[in-house]
Symmetry: C2
Subunit: 227 residues, 2 copies
């Protein structure tokens, strides 16, 4: 992917890991937070050189060509709503919005369930919240460390891509290749995010069973001609 | 696993594939159906030699040491309820009940959703329906062909095991090893079946994206010492 202006919305572990990786790959990255003043985002920007900046969600989105959403699922719709208000309400129009969130519902304790499931997904909700954005769901099936360093797990790990816009998915695949991903599985339209979001409930159990969040799955197929 | 009397409840593709494999491994297998007379089950039993039989659910369960449930998810509770009525209501008591079902809900068309999800699972419902059985969930994450021939997909594919009884899980793992499984992932107690049941929604999308149901996932971990 050629050097681009990128907004990473979310200042948690995922947002910082993605922003740091993207700066390292030569992009200009603005870390977006709820308010323009955010100590963690300021510290991150100061530590990562002249290509790193920070701003509120709307300003960050308005100034970016590519927008990554890396917030807790419960805040995702509110953050998209805040971000799109930039540039007189056009901050997300036509832009690739990379949705990395999961609709985890902790309201009944651990382990969590999902607050949207089955015949809808958080990705589709976000698309409805920003109808002119081109939403692509990806990277929500691994933790922050594996997102930006897929070879952290041994073997050929898969990352999944869901979206309605082929050009937007091509942009996201190029970004993923830059992160080191080789098994990039295009699942199809945005509704396929229902599958990767549901998988989180298995991922949580795999984390528990293995004792490590540095895990992934590889997609295995029958050898060609064996079908 | 030493030769055992096994009931396979369900006469569909999954039931027949499992029953055929188990007969081939030297077990005595009774294919259980709703009524004692079932053309498909009769034909199967006649084709598979003297170790193969057929019966209604209750009689099959009463005569078996190990019971496999391989019916459509929507019928699973009713079939367990029918099966336990054998042996004066004790047909499943103390027995390992291997649950291979998925709670697929086709009521709103394709692709399906799940009729139980999140803070409960079909496996747990079945355990409640037969409290004295020792329910172990497994094999529900692959199609019938891969269940009994894991090397049909290239690479190290995973199969998952969930259950509350360690001895029952050991029995099931031995059965899985007999089928050729090498990456057998013990997820923990029966509630972990919530994870493998939810995964079905991703599996369906992987099937759609790859164009083949002969697929699986492998569990990938960080190399030892990398954590």
């Amino acid at each position: 992917m050629k050097p681009t202006s990128i907004a990473v919305l979310g200042t948690g572990m995922v947002g910082k890991a993605l922003a740091t990786k993207l700066v390292g790959l030569g992009h200009r990255v603005t870390l977006g937070s709820r308010s323009a003043r955010h100590d963690g985002a300021t510290a991150w920007a100061e530590a990562h050189g002249e290509r790193a900046g920070q701003s509120d969600f709307a300003t960050a989105a308005a100034g970016a060509e590519l927008v990554l959403l890396a917030v807790k699922g419960e805040h995702a719709e509110a953050v998209v709503d805040a971000a799109r208000k930039g540039a007189d309400g056009a901050a997300l129009d036509g832009k690739v919005l990379v949705d990395i969130t999961n609709p985890l519902d902790f309201s009944q304790g651990m382990p969590p369930s999902l607050f949207v499931f089955g015949h809808d997904s958080l990705a589709e909700r976000l698309q409805r919240a920003a109808p002119k954005a081109r939403v692509v769901k990806t990277l929500n099936t691994v933790n922050a460390s594996v997102m930006v360093d897929p070879d952290r797990v041994a073997g050929q790990g898969a990352v999944f891509v869901s979206g309605d816009d082929a050009e937007a998915k091509a942009t996201v695949k190029a970004m993923l290749e830059g992160f080191g991903w080789r098994q990039i599985v295009d699942l199809g339209d945005l509704s396929t995010a229902r599958g990767t979001e549901a998988y989180l409930l298995l991922w949580l159990r795999l984390w528990q069973a293995t004792g490590s969040p540095d895990i992934n799955i590889g997609l295995l197929r029958a050898p060609d001609g064996a079908r």
